[in-house]
Symmetry: D2
Subunit: 135 residues, 4 copies
Amino acid sequence: MQAFETSLRVRYSETDQMGVVYHSNYLIWMEVGRIEWCRARAVNYREMEADGVLLAVVEAGCRYLAPARYDDEISIRTNIASANRRMVRFEYEIRCGRRLLATGFTRHLFLNRELRPTPLPARYQELFAIGATAS
Amino acid sequence: MQAFETSLRVRYSETDQMGVVYHSNYLIWMEVGRIEWCRARAVNYREMEADGVLLAVVEAGCRYLAPARYDDEISIRTNIASANRRMVRFEYEIRCGRRLLATGFTRHLFLNRELRPTPLPARYQELFAIGATAS
Amino acid sequence: MQAFETSLRVRYSETDQMGVVYHSNYLIWMEVGRIEWCRARAVNYREMEADGVLLAVVEAGCRYLAPARYDDEISIRTNIASANRRMVRFEYEIRCGRRLLATGFTRHLFLNRELRPTPLPARYQELFAIGATAS
Amino acid sequence: MQAFETSLRVRYSETDQMGVVYHSNYLIWMEVGRIEWCRARAVNYREMEADGVLLAVVEAGCRYLAPARYDDEISIRTNIASANRRMVRFEYEIRCGRRLLATGFTRHLFLNRELRPTPLPARYQELFAIGATAS
């Protein structure tokens, strides 16, 4: 399972009066990393949702090591730490240049359209590298 | 048609590195004013949406006169400037204490569940003071 | 050290297309809880910052148990789990009525105006129940 | 004065429970357009702020013609409608593919570090195409 790296530029609206990025925005950036990770593996999350498979966040965490600042070019390295037919855990490294700003994770349940937990359909298992034995 | 006043406190996340509230947040505050205006008239907008009547913003504007700052207690005075069965225009005055910080407006179309424009059902016309002649 | 409870109402802007509150907003709600916890103990965080004492988030985590929805009245119960002159850890329980929606924590370093770690000045130690032996 | 076009992808966090982008986000996108407009003309707004020249929004408006949706690739065409040493007015067209989603404007005052209105220093007048006669 390969990591995938995407980048974005810090928006003015993401800063706070301390002069740095407000901490909840890192969770939004992790979402950007996650979606682009899917896209890099030829899965469009929008279509996946339209297909009735939703990824609901059940846990998130972030350690903030150094502040991001307005106009910084941020890179987000996204990887899957573990996955099975019910759950997936993504991990993230957020950098500005070579400087590590934050590390984080999100844990997700697979839901159906009614927002009920549901095993991941077989057609998406390859995306998350879930083998036959893992199901 | 009476104006209605509601209040909120500026959140840290709403500030930017200029040390004042980032300007897009005023549109969110206007939404708070609008919803509370409805509630004060005994209409719960959540139930109105569940009932298939949605208010879609088609235009918004704001003039910023003085900055709001973190922890300020903000009051939002909301009124209807005009309404008919297709559209409603709200106007807002945003203050900190007696100091006027901003004035704004939003214009809305009534939509049905399919997000198509639809005349406002009779049961909601009183809320917006739309008379028989206005329909 | 007593817990403190504050409440807020879910804004439309806080929802996402899944029809529930987007998960990063819970971190903003924790900030609201934290600030009101301070206020309940007669400390205005705005003045504390003006006084050169800043609380910088160095870690945050949240477990999402049930979704919050638009217009829900949310209560946030905030407490201090531990504190010393360098750091403080807040814990939160987020509820809608009696239903527990999420639990979370934030860990903070005390910084000075130059955003450098600095021991908490004595005049604020009582706020965080830091005793003489803890310094 | 040439228009400049930049693009971004709609984030999940920018949608609301109506299934479309929440309207205040368009103001944030306009900011992205404005900053990239500056960058395309070799001016880094971060450095301009560090240099003591701030652009404060004094008015903003937006007309919403068609909804933006999650994962849409949005283009923002930014132009200057008028400028003098005290003020500048930007105009924006927001599109998804060839479809016009919204038009908007922002009007800004030039401020100094103390957030007081100040005439734009000569070294930045070329950026905004302010001629000798306009000063």
